[in-house]
């Protein structure tokens, strides 16, 4: 009886799954067109899954092994089950025992995996979604156990007539449950949807360059994509869920609701009304139409679930009242990319948030807080503070900085950033100038020709102002010749390095070598051009700026500089790619969405936990945010300041120029040999 029942069950489940898949694909195709290489994407998908996705999942070893057993077991069991029970190959003489045996193995592995899934679901951490996800381990067990038991008679391990008809029917019923969850639920919106949408999302990802290839690592691909402002018909950002490109919608649908983003999000931790996981789920709700009442995870802090609803072609943010998402949710984001870094499904949260912000700013004209004022200042004075652009160099009146306009060509163009108007950052800049002079670097500055890089305007959604600033900066920069740009502002660094390139034209090549000052100082030290006195201070920790670390992958150089200074960094629990944001990015201090606590306060608590007396930073925003913390236990100093303080002159007798006979000191390893300067 089972021989006739099983194929019917299996193939009807598959047929339903195909119907569901077509429906799901039609949901995604509501989105705008995007240029995607479909075939190449599909071909690259297995590698993206096995290498890149696994690289993220493997940060949690137990969960990674659990997933390998469960997912691997399921994929193998599903294929083998179709062969053995669906097509009846299990009874064939030659193949039967092999296929059946493999099926037993696969379903057993899946069962073991699902036991671990069940274990994690017994006391699930707050970041995990509940609701239908709580039944998933049972469904996995139902599927794997029933397949295992139903395969036993096929192989003849148990005689075909074992048990009663009732037992066989009961088993078949359990199998129906399992099949329903695994095949039907996969395309009709159950928890297993993540497997179907996730696989296609990896194949058709909007940033294919993110992924590694056989040739090497993927690049980080963190620059925002430009809007076409010349075409009056091109939409300015995203108003409705269907304004996202289809592969963005597909990406939202891939979310597995693991909540790793939620755990990493600084705004969520500060009690601001943002939860990246909920935001992605809201986009899924909007794409299909409906309300968020069925969402079973942590809500946006302070916003109960069930009050928001949307449709694919309805607004995401209402001008008045509520729609799918409230504007303050979008403005809470600091664009720190912690969510993107943690996401095992490679979802691009920050892109989506900026897309929606663009609409709010460019079409609604509704940038909250001081946003409108800052944007007006950027338009009128090329800096966010509204300062006279002619006073850019006032801070350096006594430094006699060479202007590139007078020289035309230098080795290093020092990009100062808007920190020139900030008295705190002026100290950093002075320190950096001292360091460059000590190393004998041939450098110059743009002086009053420099403008804001456009970073803040872009993160606030004002693509028009960003492009206006960027194009004028590109035109200025292209007049001069230099080998590289050095800046102490990671935001300018990121924009110059990763976001200007797209805006350069045939006349202007906007791809330069750009270095953060920590990278450049590390290079100077390694070349033996800097010499430091030994560190006499206390414990030091280092705070990774988001735009240097997660955006540009530079974790090592600042640490190498600190090591060269003789400082042993007492790492915070959240450092490196998991560094917690200072709260200063993405225009968050400008829009200033209230929460329960402040992000920089939490970060200074992280610093306190290390017992450090000093926190080294490499970003003017971080300096400002962390220094604004009341009753801080640690002093905040930029790496350039620490280096400038430790500078000593070249030890006597080692020659004058940089090509001295002394072998260059290695930044990693040995402590630099020091001598007192006697004369």
């Amino acid at each position: 009886m089972l021989e006739t029942l099983l194929p019917i069950l299996i193939f009807s489940a598959l047929a339903l799954a195909v119907i569901g898949a077509v429906r799901r694909i039609r949901l995604w195709r509501q989105g705008r067109p995007a240029r995607v290489d479909l075939l190449r994407g599909l071909a690259a998908m297995p590698r993206r899954y096995l290498v890149d996705l696994h690289h993220v999942v493997a940060r949690d070893k137990v969960m990674s092994n659990t997933h390998v057993a469960t997912a691997g077991g399921f994929v193998a069991a599903a294929v083998l089950m179709i062969l053995v029970h669906g097509l009846g190959l299990g009874s064939s003489e030659s193949m039967g025992p092999i296929l059946g045996g493999l099926l037993l193995l696969a379903s057993a592995a899946m069962f073991v995996g699902s036991l671990f899934v069940a274990k994690r679901r017994r006391n699930p951490p707050a970041r995990l979604s509940k609701g239908p996800w709580m039944r998933l381990p049972k469904s996995l067990m139902a599927f794997s156990a029933s397949v295992f038991l139903l395969t036993l008679p096929t192989l003849g391990i148990l005689p075909a007539g074992t048990g009663s008809v009732i037992l066989a029917l009961a088993l078949a019923a359990v199998l129906v449950w399992g099949l329903g969850e695994m095949f039907f639920g996969m395309t009709w919106g159950g928890p297993m949807k993540h497997a179907f949408a996730g696989a296609l999302h990896l194949a058709f990802h909007r940033r294919p360059e993110r992924f590694s290839t056989k040739g090497g690592e993927g690049n980080r691909s963190t620059g925002l994509k430009a809007l076409n402002l010349d075409d009056p018909k091109a939409p300015l950002g995203v108003e409705t869920p269907s304004d996202f490109t289809w592969n963005q919608l597909l990406g939202f649908d891939a979310c597995v609701q693991c909540g790793r983003c939620e755990a990493a999000c600084p705004a969520f931790a500060a009690g601001q009304p943002l939860n990246p996981k909920k935001l992605i789920q809201d986009m899924v709700v909007g794409m299909a139409g409906g309300s968020d009442a069925h969402y079973a995870g942590s809500p946006y802090p302070g916003k109960p679930v069930g009050e928001h609803a949307g449709t694919p072609h309805g607004p995401i943010v209402a001008r008045e009242g509520t729609a799918l998402v409230d504007a303050e949710t979008l403005w809470s984001c600091t664009t720190c990319r912690a969510c993107v870094e943690e996401c095992p499904m490679m979802i691009e949260h920050v892109d989506a948030i900026v897309d929606m912000r663009r609409f709010l700013t460019l079409e609604h004209g509704n940038t909250p807080g001081k946003g409108a004022e800052v944007l007006d200042n950027l338009i009128a004075t090329d800096n966010p503070g509204g300062f006279d652009p002619g006073s850019r160099m006032h801070w350096a009146a006594d430094l006699n900085l060479p202007l590139i306009r007078d020289l035309g060509q230098v080795d290093v163009l020092l990009w100062l950033g808007d920190g020139v108007f900030d008295m705190r950052n002026q100290r950093t800049l002075r320190a950096l100038v001292k360091v460059l002079r000590a190393a004998g670097v041939d450098f110059a500055v743009l002086g009053n020709e420099e403008r804001d890089s456009g970073d803040v305007a872009r993160r606030l959604g004002d693509e028009a102002t960003f492009q206006s600033l960027a194009k004028r900066n590109i035109a200025t920069l292209s007049q001069y010749r230099f080998q590289c740009i050095v800046t102490c502002d990671p935001h300018s660094f990121h924009v110059l390095k990763n976001e200007y390139g797209e805006l350069g034209g045939p006349d202007f090549n906007a791809n330069w070598v750009v270095r953060h000052h920590s990278t450049y100082i590390a290079e100077l030290f390694e070349a033996g051009r800097l010499h430091f006195a030994p560190w006499k201070g206390g414990r030091v920790t280092y705070h990774d700026p988001c735009y240097l670390g997660r955006y540009n992958g530079e974790y090592e150089a600042p640490r190498n500089v600190l090591k060269a200074l003789g400082i042993e960094v007492a790492e915070m629990q959240r450092s490196g790619f998991r560094s917690r944001c200072c709260g200063g990015g993405g225009g968050a201090p400008i829009t200033d969405i209230p929460g329960k606590q402040r992000i920089p306060d939490m970060r200074m608590n992280d610093v306190k936990e290390t017992g450090a007396e000093l926190v080294a930073v490499g970003c003017p925003q971080c300096t400002a945010m962390l220094e604004g913390v009341v009753d801080a236990t640690a002093e905040v100093r930029d790496i350039a300041e620490l280096v400038a303080d430790a500078l000593v002159e070249r030890p006597a007798g080692s020659g004058g120029s940089s090509d001295s006979a002394r072998p260059p000191q290695s930044a990693s390893g040995t402590r630099p040999v020091m001598k007192e300067v006697t004369s």
Binding site: P232, T361, L362, E363, T367, A380, T381, G386, D388
Partner: protein, 282 residues
């Protein structure tokens, strides 16, 4: 303060209430100019005019038209689009050459369009900037004018209830029969953000108009404005509390004296003594 003080337009016959009133919508024209940023001098939407537009937008059921008299070039276009970005599909440009007196053209346009309420800023941010334009327009049209508005509270039966801003945050409620010209100053609500999308899509509808030259202006000698010297405020405070009090204190004429029933000689003497005491005369 006189609540509900009545300002009546002396020359307003009241017979000018227009046909536009019949469909219930309040016709409002806002005069907008090309502003000049105080720091960089770049063209922008003028602050007070933008506040005027914001005031118009606060009127329920108003039909708002934006009106600019001047020349259209790259700079002025970007500034005018700043007003469109506040959410308008179009702006009317009465074409005038540089050096023209825009008042006749504006007056012709207004008397033809017959808006009930005309809103303007106190003074332009560039050019003559005398602040005379609304007055000269009101004189030409024979409409009442109210200056320094903070808000329009309501418009009923051809009468507008206005809130006029006085120094130190005081307000005076006035009623004026429409049509009228009102000007707003910095006490009015700040203008909303100008959005790029509507600003780019908005139409600038140019209308040609007769040009009358401003004959007085070419004879003038224009020099950059100089900052007036400011009296140094010397705070002799020993404690933070004293410094705070000094910073928060209102300007007070502490040592002043009121002279009444004195001869011109005594008055002149008192002024002379004060100037000597203050070190203006030595």
């Amino acid at each position: 303060m006189r609540p509900d003080a009545q300002t009546t337009g002396a020359r307003n016959t009241g017979a000018q209430s227009t046909s536009a009133q019949q469909d219930g919508a309040l016709e409002v024209a806002v005069l907008v100019s090309v502003g000049r940023h105080p720091v960089t001098g770049r063209a922008r939407r003028a602050d007070q005019d933008a506040r005027g537009v914001e005031l118009a937008l606060s009127l329920a059921g108003a039909r708002i038209s934006l009106l600019h008299a001047g020349a259209l070039d790259e700079e002025s276009e970007s500034a005018l689009r700043g007003y469109l970005g506040m959410g308008f599909p179009a702006l009317t440009l009465v074409e005038q050459l540089p050096g023209a007196d825009v008042i006749p053209a504006l007056a012709d346009r207004l008397s033809a369009a017959r808006p009930q309420l005309v809103i303007a800023g106190e003074r332009a941010e560039q050019g003559e900037g005398s602040g005379m334009l609304p007055y000269l327009l009101a004189e030409r049209l024979g409409w009442p004018l109210v200056g320094g508005l903070a808000a329009v509270e309501k418009v009923e039966n051809g009468v507008a209830t206005l809130l006029q801003a006085l120094p130190r945050g005081q307000r005076r409620r006035l009623q004026v029969r429409l049509p009228a010209i009102v000007t707003v100053d910095a006490a009015a609500a700040a203008a909303r953000q100008s959005a790029f999308g509507p600003a780019q899509r908005g139409e600038i509808e140019a209308e040609s108009a007769a040009v009358e030259w401003d004959e007085a202006q070419p004879e003038w000698n224009v020099t950059p404005a100089r900052k007036r010297p400011k009296r140094l405020k010397i705070v002799k405070a020993a404690s933070a509390r004293d410094r705070f009090k000094a910073a928060a204190a209102k300007a007070e004429g502490g040592s002043g004296q009121v002279l009444t029933d004195v001869t011109p000689e005594q008055g002149a003497e008192a002024i002379f003594k004060l100037l000597k005491d203050e070190g203006v005369l030595r």
